[in-house]
């Protein structure tokens, strides 16, 4: 896949838009005068959405890397081609949805917050 093909551009533009929105969500949370419960729910939103977007960015990058991303680092690390580490990074990104409080746990927290708030 070439970086300039329309499919790549569309995927990149979509991720950029979602990141821009997540950025606003984060600032809203920082500036918000809302309750502790609202802020805790906001943190769960950021964790889930943030890691999902991170994984989608890495999916895109591993597609860009293609076979160049297959290598493990040698004794001197990776070579000149900046795409080489992407395969390993992509594998590592899979862990994001379970570290720092698994996303499933975050969703339990969010559901409890919403059921308490909206009942």
């Amino acid at each position: 896949m070439l970086p300039l093909d329309p499919d790549f551009l569309a995927r990149a533009a979509r991720l950029e838009a979602e990141l821009e929105a997540l950025d606003r969500t984060q600032y809203r949370l920082l500036n918000d005068e809302s309750s502790a419960a609202d802020r805790a729910a906001g943190a769960s939103v950021l964790k889930v959405k943030g890691t999902e977007l991170f994984q989608r960015v890495m999916d895109l990058l591993v597609d860009v890397a293609g076979p160049t991303g297959l290598r493990l680092p040698g004794a001197d690390g990776f070579g000149m081609d900046s795409r080489e580490p992407l395969g390993v990074s992509h594998l590592y990104s899979r862990a994001a949805s379970i570290y720092g409080g698994a996303n499933e746990v975050q969703k339990n927290i969010l559901a409890k917050y919403l059921f308490d708030k909206l009942s």
């Binding site: 838009a17 821009e20 929105a21 950025d23 809203r28 889930v48 969703k107 339990n108 919403l114 909206l118």
Partner: protein, 321 residues
């Protein structure tokens, strides 16, 4: 663009929410309004007028209340929550176009009537012809008796029910301008269709219809004004979408708690609880999209503004569906 104070704006939104809950309900008033024919303006329009919303974004000098894009979004969010169908938003957008490019005579003649809710208007900009049709885009030419427009417009929201249409037309080769046309003018043919949500829309065919040019002849191209209107429209739509999604999430959570299956509430099932959490995450993204859309109306650079607006529309439309 000015803005209302935060207090005024919040109390306006609260009054609107209460009035809509009492007099419109979630989808109840809408059902009644949609049962009427295409020539009938939704009855909820007068409720909005009574609350003083018709002049929301018009300046004091034209009997308006001087609200800005944040106020527009607060109102649109409430209208979205109640799924209101009325030519209120279109009238607001037409008012903004009049403010930007209308002559002082046009502004004085039309803006107070818009602000009081006596006059309703809608935008006729879109030209999407069905496959196999030979409809021509709308163009304008000058005759001895004034401007004449010919061509077609599609998806004109409540085109039959409003008093006046604001129509875009090409002038000459490269320019395009906005024109005012009376909805019941003899040279305007309406075909009325219901949209998927049940609201009325018109396909218009202008057959040498007399039209009034907005602003002065030979004045600047209206492209800038149309761009500004479309950014504002996007900001309003994103807020409306957010309001509808917010109400849908609340209704869903309430239902999950009420409905019992196999001896327990639906809301005790983790699979459904997770879907509620996902809806909320999407709702927060939609809230941010609403902010991005408002931001786009304030950006100086055209390309930046369009980029930001496109991001907002993309995130909003995907998050709420």
């Amino acid at each position: 663009m000015t803005e209302l104070s935060r207090e005024d704006s919040v109390s306006l939104a609260e009054a609107l929410r209460r009035a809509l809950q009492e007099q419109y309900g979630f989808a109840g008033g809408r059902k009644q309004d949609l049962a009427a024919g295409p020539e009938q303006r939704s009855s909820v329009f007068s409720l909005l007028t009574d609350l003083g919303l018709s002049g929301l974004m018009l300046p004091d000098a034209h009997d308006g209340v001087g609200g800005g894009v944040a106020d527009l979004q607060l109102v649109q969010r409430e209208l979205g929550r109640a799924l209101v169908v009325a030519p209120w938003f279109d009238s607001v957008l037409c008012g903004q176009a009049l403010l930007q490019v209308g002559t002082s005579e046009q502004r004085n003649a039309l803006l107070p009537a818009l602000a009081s809710g006596q006059l309703s208007m809608t935008l006729a900009l879109e030209e999407s012809a069905g496959l196999g049709t030979t409809l021509k885009p709308t163009s304008a030419r000058q005759s001895e008796a004034g401007w004449i427009i010919s061509g077609f417009k599609s998806n004109v929201f409540q085109g039959k029910a409003v008093d006046k249409l604001m129509v875009s037309a090409t002038v000459g080769v490269n320019a395009s301008a906005l024109f005012l046309v009376s909805s019941n003018h003899a040279g305007v043919r309406h075909s009325n269709f219901r949209l998927v949500d049940g609201s009325w829309t018109s396909e218009l065919i202008f057959d040498s219809a007399h039209a009034e040019l907005l602003g002065q002849s030979g004045g600047p191209d209206h492209l800038d004004a149309m761009r500004a209107i479309s950014l504002l429209a996007n900001a309003g739509r994103c807020a409306e979408a957010f309001g509808a999604a917010e109400a849908a999430l609340e209704t869903t959570v309430q239902y999950l708690q009420t409905r019992k299956q196999f001896g327990q509430s639906l809301g005790d099932n983790q699979a459904l609880r997770h879907r509620v959490a996902e809806m909320y995450i999407a709702l927060e993204q939609a809230r941010s999209a609403m902010e991005l859309a408002a931001e786009a109306t304030q950006l100086e650079d055209h390309a930046d503004a369009e980029h930001r607006a496109a991001q907002a529309q993309l995130v909003s439309s995907e998050a709420i569906t």
